[in-house]
Amino acid sequence: MKSQSNKLFEPALVKTALKQSFIKLNPKAMLRNPVMFTVEVGTLIMAYMSFYSFTYTDQGSFIYNVIIFIILLLTLLFANFAEAIAEARGKAQADSLRKTREETPAKVLSKDGSLTTKSSNELRKGDMFVCEPGDTIPTDGEIVEGLATIDESAITGESAPVIREAGGDKSSVTGGTKVLSDKIKVIVTTEPGESFLDKMIALVEGASRQKTPNEIALTILLASFTLIFIIVCVTLKPFANYANTPITIAALISLFVCLIPTTIGGLLSAIGIAGMDRALRANVITKSGRAVETAGDIDVLLLDKTGTITIGNRKATHFWPSIDVLPDDLIKAAVLSSLADETPEGKSIVELAAQSKVSISLKAPEHSEFIKFTAETRSSGINTPEGLEIRKGAFDSMRNLAQRTGNKIPADVEERVKTVSSNGGTPLVVAQNGRILGTIELQDIIKTGIAERFERLRKMGIKTVMVTGDNPLTAKFIAEKAGVDDFIAEAKPEDKMNYIKHEQQEGRLVAMMGDGTNDAPALAQADVGVAMNSGTQAAKEAGNMVDLDNDPTKLIEIVEIGKQLLITRGTLTTFSIANDVAKYFAIVPALFIASIPALQSINIMRLHSPESAILSAVIFNAIIIPLLIPLALKGVEYKPIGASALLRRNLLIYGLGGVIAPFIGIKLIDLVIGLFI
């Protein structure tokens, strides 16, 4: 899925989009966009004027009227094309995800326990089906019984199989993925056509797309600019009459279309769709456009420690033998006690030992007895036939053991245990026949590059909060090392919830990621809740986004997508309005030069003739839309350099640039037109 083509204009998509551009001319659809609707009205008037000028001569030549009509029509088509291509891209992306869930046979379990084969399309919410190795999972559901390894590469692009099992936080399966081993019983969780993906596709498609709050506010502002220019153009007629200057309808409508913010008006919906599309390309399914926009406003980010900040579980990083113990003895004992230990910690001890110069055998002596970890003993270990009893565990349990067996507790070990703890590590003490040999240091491994990402977030003004079950001391250490701003230690599910509520009360917007049913209330409470696709159905329902990659750092990307979305709208609005300055200097002298020759002085671009000036301005106004489509689709880059610096930068590029660019553009077009008339 990640290998999706990033080409902006796929020929196939362009074709659909071109067709759509014409269909979207339907005035009913146009009404959604007040700016472009007025252009459509202007185009219709020009269509009439073209006929009119065929027989009468007082409104300029026929050719001139027809050309203006064509340019206005093109302006409309360009704007429609922008929206259509954004839709087409979003749909193509969604379709490629949907393809994974083509019709597959489902082994449906009926109430009496018999199996029947149905098409996946016929599955209803609440149906139960069974999947065996080699089966493709027919639709989204939750495992109710069993455990299986599943290949989710069709969705995530990740080839390593994942384990999904009933009951836990990783109980969801996605349609289109493949069962590799074992047998699972799954309950269908969505009605056909109502999966998150289906909802997302509907969001991209025109009909049910709802404008986001910022989009509505911006539309209002653009509509009011449009109204101002209606006032300007309507009143210009009596003004011109007063100055004894006849103004043709074509000139008046050209002026109007040039002045109203068609650039942003034409691209506005494309920008919004492209935002959702970018989220989808990041393998995030959003349930509303609003969620993407809100992501840009996030102030606080709640991240789970494990998997996000640190790699999976703790790892052994050091062996610390007691003063009178040989390092080799400690390492050998540690390895022996861990051979049967299937926990990641246990494995990491063996790995660490293998890296040391000590030669160790990876096989326990035959007939050894392995002692499993229990909550009571808080230790695990091995009893060998030679009579070695090796235990490793928490310091206090080992101390009890030593005391029971009449061994003393070395002061240096006690000291070491404290240092390790205060360094954020977990000390494991190893004892052989009751004698304490030394300490194994387990440490959380912080992901590489995570500190830089947090730094970036800080520059965006986002506070990062680490959520962990660790004790406060360890949590603090890791938090400092990873560079997060705050942490919740010994976190219970309700702690997350309380933290979110507290931040929200202070007016901040909170985002979090979660997978478990426990997380569901917090996901619902958070302003942006991203559920992992592997998570439980409850979690997925509660959040407003679903991450198909199950990647906890995805939140960072989502925030940037949200910000980009707003920035693109803001900068293109600025650009669009700034363009008007040059257009005035082109059109106003053109309108009045015949009767007020003195106004030639404000024709600072020295445009060829009044007609060419007006044509150049409308042509520039039209072609700037397709020129900016790539920018609208890709989004204006977000740089975390602080709000004021960002504003300066964007003002310079899109504000000042927006004033200057059309002067050059209009002049160039005028030079070309000058060749023909």
């Binding site: 009143t235 007063y242 803001g570 960002l646």
Partner: protein, 571 residues
């Protein structure tokens, strides 16, 4: 020349020196903190008791506006009838007649809305009684209304989240007792002692050197001229306003008048910063407004000093600059300075004929009124600027990738809608008004009901267009100055500008206060590194750009056909 420049620089510096402490004082006083004028408390408490006002009683934005509108409506009714029947009332030594209904309609609105557009001449159109109990009275109340409204806006942003905009009545009364009355008292005395008339006697007479008998109007003018400037009202005692030698006798009174019309608008901006405990924001706004002021003032002064190019072509030297319509005792520089200030702060008093200024000066005067937010009228200046701020905040908020916030409150569709409507209002009133006038002039030149539009204009052509544009711009800005070549005392202009006046006054007060009320109610969002800070130079420049671009786009065609065409035709 140097002393002329010195005079202007000195005027500006003195204004600044008064405005800064005054701003601090206003912030403290309206916040109810301890200030030295607290000795007036018993007087105020007496007034409150008399009027049944419970000071400190909270008002939400709707109640606040209701109070404001109710009292203003009352004055409208009261003034309308008194003006119509002033001839039947005492203190009319010159026997001046009552006003026609349309003139009374225009005049009373004009003064209630702090505009002071005068379609009459004070000497012959009003009596001493109406000058005082209508005109001067309204000069106090209209200025206090604006100030109270602005303080309501301040109050909205002082606390993190609130529905309380403060008590309108309290602010209103205090604006008069603690600010306008004391200052007017001082200014009136200075003016009276420098030759401004202050007598209740009727016309005086003298025989000129030619042997003609000349009647000279007098009256208790000094006290009115003080509040006329302090309250950014601008309505003159005499028809020619502060160009009249008895209204503005000397360079000293000229300085006093120009300083007094500027101090409250300036102080209010700084007071905003102090009041909401964001001093820097006050200074940034002040900076933007000052830059804007100089952008209008420098070309104005330069075009006035370089004189009339038509006269130059005839070989006439104009050592002192363009002198047509200017008073020799004041000179073109001080007149240019005045003309910029009076148009940006919406006073609208004049010390020379704006109609006679150079074409481009006319354009700057018009633009000053169209923007109407560089310091602006008493209190309302900051309200107008607030609308620009909201639009700037909205666009730049998007540009930095966050839902726009103003002082910790999200700016959303509803606020943008109100701001957009208010932004629309000015171009609509100005351009639609001018368009109708131009249409009547063109097509119904001999319509009797409008006293023959063909005769409206003393100067047809571009300048005539500017005269009509100026009248509507001045009315919408509640400025009150005029390009007096326009024959405006007839039913069309009285009624049309009357409506423009009232809409141009109250909607731009209602809008900002509604936005402020809505914003203040919202949850306060603490600042972070991603929050756009609005008390920075960058944001100041953004606001300035929004103001300039918005106004240039709205008015460029109109300005091009009026003053700009005139300018290029003269070249």
């Amino acid at each position: 020349m140097n002393s002329e420049i010195l005079g202007v620089v000195a005027s500006f510096l003195i204004t600044l020196l008064i405005a800064i402490p005054l701003g601090k004082y206003l912030a403290k006083m309206f916040a109810g903190e301890h200030v030295w004028t607290d000795f007036l408390k018993p007087l105020e408490n007496g007034l409150f008791k008399l009027a049944g006002i419970r000071p400190g009683e909270p008002m939400d934005w709707k109640q606040f506006l209701k109070a404001m509108l109710t009292i203003n409506l009352l004055w409208l009714v009261y003034g309308f009838f008194v003006l119509m029947y002033q001839d039947k009332l005492p203190f009319n030594p010159d026997g001046n007649p009552g006003m026609t209904a349309d003139l009374a309609f225009n005049t009373i609105i004009s003064f209630v809305v702090n505009c002071d557009l005068q379609h009459y001449s004070g000497e012959s159109g009003l009596t001493y009684l109406t000058q005082q109990i209508i005109i001067m009275f309204l000069m106090f109340t209209s200025a206090a209304t604006g100030i109270a409204a602005a303080v309501g806006l301040f109050k909205a942003f002082r606390d993190k989240t609130t529905t309380n905009l403060g008590n309108f009545w309290e602010f209103f009364v205090k604006a008069i007792t603690r600010l306008l009355l004391p200052l007017s008292f001082v200014v009136a005395i200075v003016l009276a002692f420098n030759g401004t008339t202050a007598s209740y006697e009727g016309k005086d007479q003298f025989i000129s050197l030619q042997g003609d008998t000349v009647n000279v109007s007098r009256g208790p003018a000094a006290q009115m001229i003080a509040i006329k400037h302090l309250g950014t009202n601008g309505g003159g005692w005499y028809g020619v306003n502060s160009a009249h030698p008895l209204e503005n006798p000397s360079y000293v009174t000229n300085m006093v008048e120009i300083i007094s019309q500027m101090i409250i608008p300036m102080a209010m901006i700084l007071a905003f910063g102090y009041f909401i405990r964001r001093k820097k924001l006050g200074w940034v706004i002040f900076g933007v407004m000052t830059v804007g002021m100089f952008m209008l003032m420098i070309p104005t002064i330069s075009s006035e000093l370089s004189g009339n190019s038509n006269l130059t072509k005839m070989g006439i030297t104009q050592a002192t600059g363009a002198m047509e319509g200017k008073e020799v005792r004041i000179g073109p520089l001080a007149t240019g300075y005045w003309s910029t200030l009076t148009t940006i702060v919406s006073t609208g008093s004049v010390n020379g004929m704006h109609d006679s200024t150079m074409p481009l000066t006319g354009a700057w005067q018009l633009l000053g009124m169209m923007i109407n937010g560089f310091f602006g009228g008493c209190g309302v200046g900051i309200l107008n600027y607030f609308i620009y701020l909201i639009i700037a905040v909205f666009i730049s908020g998007l540009m930095v990738g966050r839902t726009p916030e103003f002082l910790g409150h999200k700016v959303e569709a509803r606020e943008v809608k109100i701001a957009a409507l208010i932004t629309l209002l000015s171009p609509f009133l100005i351009m639609a008004g001018t368009a109708i006038a131009a249409y009547l002039f063109n097509n119904y030149g001999d319509a009797d009901w409008a006293v023959k539009p063909a005769n409206w204009l003393n100067n047809p052509g571009h300048h005539g267009f500017s005269e009509m544009l100026y009248e509507f711009t001045s009315a919408n800005a509640n400025n009150g100055s005029g390009f007096e070549g326009l024959g405006d005392n007839n039913i069309f202009w009285n009624v049309a500008t009357g409506f423009v006046l009232i809409l141009g006054r109250f909607l731009p007060i209602i809008g900002p206060l509604a936005i402020a009320g809505l914003l203040a109610k919202k949850k306060y969002i603490p600042e972070s590194a991603g929050t756009l800070k609005i008390d920075t130079v960058t944001f100041g420049l953004m606001t300035l750009a929004v103001i300039l671009v918005l106004n240039a786009l709205s008015y460029f065609p109109a300005l091009a056909l009026g003053p700009i065409a005139e300018y290029f035709s003269m070249k």
